[in-house]
């Protein structure tokens, strides 16, 4: 195994140089600055800030709601992608374009729009109110906002994979005696599983970092509906830059661990499949 592999396009040295430079300048340097800022704190101060009950509550909400939102998108994103790739119907192109809307919308606008609809006197909220369901200003609202803004990632990740599943495979399975559910479980799902995981990861990552849309619908009650990014902003407004940096480092670490875990899971899935071959 050599470090450099021959490729159709020349210029490995140049492109690798650019890759490291850009990653350093745009990703690594700011992150290092963040860690440094936090490192200038005293160890006990750091612990106090990051393990305060308010901070712990915000982690729970931020990561819990993001996980929930990504899970919801995993299911419904798959269904939407399935509908768009498998069926021809009038307006398919329009719906396909609509998927990307949350990308283009300023997140604050999404938040305001959701609040209008789900507030106690909103279009839908007023009918949910008598049933005892409160969406706006609860964790439910947070999850809803995160689901909305991270939905395109799930759909767009699965779509190409679904296009790849040949109809012939399903036909073959059917002639071999498999029922619909069996075909789905044994043929379609294994083929799109890597893409589904990617969609989940992207959705989750996007949701964890979300700020704009959530603050309008969350109500921002400390301990209850306060997300970590908001807590960071509150620290900043109090000119407590070190505290903000400390929370940032915790978010960074948790996110990194979660994403790494999913990536390892994917790699393990690929390896185990190759291992089966030998």
């Amino acid at each position: 195994m050599s470090f450099r592999k021959p490729s159709v396009l020349p210029g490995f040295g140049l492109t690798f140089g650019f890759t490291t430079f850009f990653l350093s300048a745009i990703v690594l340097l700011p992150l290092a600055a963040l860690v440094l800022a936090a490192a200038s704190m005293h160890w006990s101060d750091f612990l106090r800030v990051v393990s305060s009950p308010r901070a712990l509550g915000s982690y729970r909400l931020s990561f819990g709601a993001s996980f929930l939102a990504a899970s919801i998108n995993l299911v419904f994103g798959f269904i939407i992608a399935w509908t768009l790739t498998r069926y021809e119907f009038p307006g398919r192109k329009v719906i396909d374009a609509l998927i990307d809307m949350p990308f283009a919308l300023p997140t604050a606008v999404s938040g305001i729009a959701l609040t209008t609809v789900f507030a106690q006197n909103g279009w839908i909220g007023r009918y949910l109110e008598p049933l005892g369901i409160k969406v706006a200003y609860t964790w439910l609202g947070v999850t809803l906002a995160l689901t909305l803004i991270s939905m395109p990632f799930a759909v767009r990740a699965v779509q190409p994979a679904l296009l790849e599943v040949q109809r012939d495979l399903e036909d073959a399975a059917e002639t071999l005696g498999a029922g619909r559910f069996y075909v789905f479980r044994r043929i379609i799902l294994p083929t799109v599983l890597p893409a589904l995981l990617t969609g989940f990861t992207l959705s989750f990552a996007r949701a964890v970092g979300e700020y704009g849309s959530v603050i309008f619908i969350a109500g921002n009650l400390p301990m209850k509906t306060e997300i970590t990014p908001l807590l960071i902003v509150i620290h900043l407004e109090e000119f407590d830059y070190q505290g903000a940096a400390a929370l940032g480092v915790v978010m960074l670490t948790i996110s990194f661990v979660v994403l790494l875990a999913i990536n390892l899971l994917q790699a393990w899935g690929r390896r185990s499949r190759v291992r089966a071959a030998h």
């Binding site: 012939d168 495979l169 036909d171 059917e174 005696g177 498999a178 044994r186 043929i187």
Partner: protein
């Protein structure tokens, strides 16, 4: 019988893709469905497998009607052109798929898998992934997988399409051996005639969704019944010949004295000569076979075992011999010669040679060629360029002649053009054409196509005849037309409004017509029953659907123009009139 198809029809957006196909395939038979792409052969195979439904007709497997049974309960094995292996599963898992679905025990599964891998010569490949196999090996796995659950019928959809020539031949042999060993009824779809010859017990040839002919390879090759089969199955030279009292005449020479039909009126026929049945020699005397004419060698191609010649052939008077329209790129005579013949007489491009024919086969097809008839040359030429006519002639690989009749339609006027009417006569469908049609029919035209200027390829052809004498001829002409257009055929039986008692007879006529069309002309058609006046009823049914055409058989011409004016004048539909006098 293993597979019974009865009038299976499948439409896609209005047009029939599989059109009234009826077929019986015997136990253990290797049947090959052969046809150009888009002929409906793959759709038919998918219909047998149960992967696509049918709009009409029945499918039975081993006597069990499965028309409405799901694919997974039909007990068939299907092999696809692109293998369709499950890429995330090993070879073993792929092959055991059908067994797992059936909850077979692991040990029995393993045993069956070993058996199948031995059968397709892939022992020891159990744990490979499809991606680690070559194309040929992948297709072997697909065959083993399709056989795992011991299906009663094996279906193969262009299984060699994605493989290169050498592997293809190897796999072909494997499939043939497996089929023989298991004695499993097999249907294979292909567009490759060599493949069909190599594998088939019987070949069925499809075009435009219709099954044109089915039979043993050698029989179909030497005695095709249709132009399409003659030219699709191997190369063929088509001649317009004349059936005379003395035999079959091409140009001025009698080619096949054996086919003597004393007493029958002389008429034009289509003759097939295979390239290997043509002989070329330096002079007429040097020919070992019957002389047909002279030709100039256009092209000489060496292909190893054989030499292929293209010869521009004319009869003794210099008129082109082949049926193709003048200027058509195919209008040269194809000749193949063995090494032995090449040593005897070396041929170079530009050389003039004498042409002889060893064996000639006359097609039973009644529509030999078209002759456009009009009052002036300009009009006739205009009509000969009509889109539908040009299309039909091209598909039938025949020519369109011209016939000028200045007196066309004038009562009492005589024919001015010399000679009898040849092939089908064509006139423009416009006001007053009923009169002209009558005029031509009275003067000897047998088959007359009344063609409106804007006529398009029909999607529905209605068939009706008045008088029993015209029945057989009408069915023959209908079969000939329907082989060349993707349309459905409907026989309309009409019971006169006043004759309520004629009911049962009308029904019997309907059934007789259908079985005769099937048996004598290989034509599958629907039957419908109408009541009332013939002209009105036909006009009503023609107007029901767009792009309809009528084929009308008549025996007596009394008040012809008057009776059928509503169908002909105005040119709403193409109408093909078949006239046969009652004897």
């Amino acid at each position: 019988m293993s597979i019974n198809l009865d009038q299976v029809t499948k439409h896609y957006s209005g047009a029939p893709v599989v059109n009234d196909v009826s077929l019986d395939i015997g136990d253990g038979e290797f049947f090959v469905l052969l046809g150009p792409s888009g002929s409906g052969k793959s759709t038919l195979l998918r219909a047998i497998a149960g992967l696509s439904g049918v709009d009409h007709g029945r499918i039975a497997l081993h006597g069990r009607d499965v028309t409405h049974v799901a694919a997974r309960k039909r007990g068939v094995g299907l092999v696809f052109q692109n293998y369709a292996l499950f890429r995330h599963m090993t070879v073993a898992d792929n092959i055991e798929f059908a067994l797992r679905v059936r909850h077979m025990r692991a040990r029995a599964r393993r045993q069956r898998r070993q058996e199948l891998l031995r059968l397709v010569a892939l022992e020891g490949m159990d744990n490979r992934l499809p991606a680690q196999l070559s194309g040929g090996q992948q297709q072997r796995v697909a065959v083993a997988r399709a056989l795992a659950h011991k299906p009663e019928v094996l279906l193969l959809d262009e299984p060699f399409g994605a493989l290169d020539a050498k592997i293809r031949e190897e796999l072909r042999r494997t499939i043939r051996e497996v089929q023989r060993e298991l004695g499993i009824t097999t249907v294979l779809v292909t567009h490759d005639q060599e493949e069909a010859f190599a594998l088939a017990d019987r070949i069925g040839i499809m075009n435009f969704g219709r099954l044109l002919e089915a039979g043993a390879p050698a029989e179909l090759y030497s005695r095709p019944a249709t132009r399409f089969v003659a030219t699709f199955l191997g190369a063929a030279n088509l001649f317009l010949a004349r059936r005379t009292a003395d035999g079959i005449k091409v140009g001025a020479t009698i080619m096949a004295a054996a086919e003597r039909t004393p007493g029958a009126p002389e008429h034009e026929v289509v003759a097939v000569v295979r390239p290997e049945e043509v002989e070329v020699a330096p002079s007429r005397d040097a020919l070992g076979s019957r002389f047909m004419g002279y030709g100039v060698v256009d092209d000489v191609m060496f292909t190893g075992a054989f030499e292929r010649l293209r010869v521009r052939a004319t009869d003794e008077s210099g008129a082109p011999l082949l049926a193709f329209a003048e200027g058509d790129a195919n209008a040269t005579l194809q000749v193949t010669r063995t090494r032995y013949a090449q040593r005897g007489f070396e041929v170079r491009t530009g050389q003039t040679v004498a042409i002889g024919v060893r064996r000639l086969h006359v097609l039973p097809t009644p529509l030999s060629s078209f002759t456009v008839c009009a009052v002036s040359a300009a009009r006739a030429e205009g009509l000969s360029r009509q889109a539908l006519l040009a299309e039909l002639a091209a598909r039938m690989k025949t020519r369109i002649g011209l016939r000028i009749e200045p007196g066309l339609g004038v009562p009492e006027a005589a024919c001015e053009a010399e000679g009898a009417f040849v092939g089908a006569t064509v006139i423009a469908g416009e006001d007053g054409c009923a009169q002209r049609a009558e005029w031509l029919l009275q003067r000897g035209a047998k088959d007359l196509l009344v063609l409106p200027a804007g006529a398009q390829a029909p999607q529905r052809v209605l068939i009706h005849w008045l008088g029993d004498a015209a029945r057989s001829a009408t069915l023959g002409v209908s079969a000939s037309v329907l082989r060349h257009v993707p349309a459905e055929a409907v026989y309309v039986g009409i019971v006169a409004a006043d004759g309520a008692s004629a009911g049962p007879q009308g029904m019997r006529e309907l059934l007789d017509a259908r079985s005769e069309a099937q048996a004598a002309h290989g034509l599958e058609m629907r039957t419908e029953l109408g009541f009332g006046d013939v002209t009105q009823e036909l006009a009503r049914r023609l107007a029901e659907a767009p792009a309809s055409m009528l084929i009308l058989g008549v025996t007596d011409l009394k008040r012809f123009a008057e009776r059928f004016r509503a169908l002909l004048d105005g040119g709403a539909w193409p109408v093909l009139i078949v006239q046969r006098a009652a004897s």
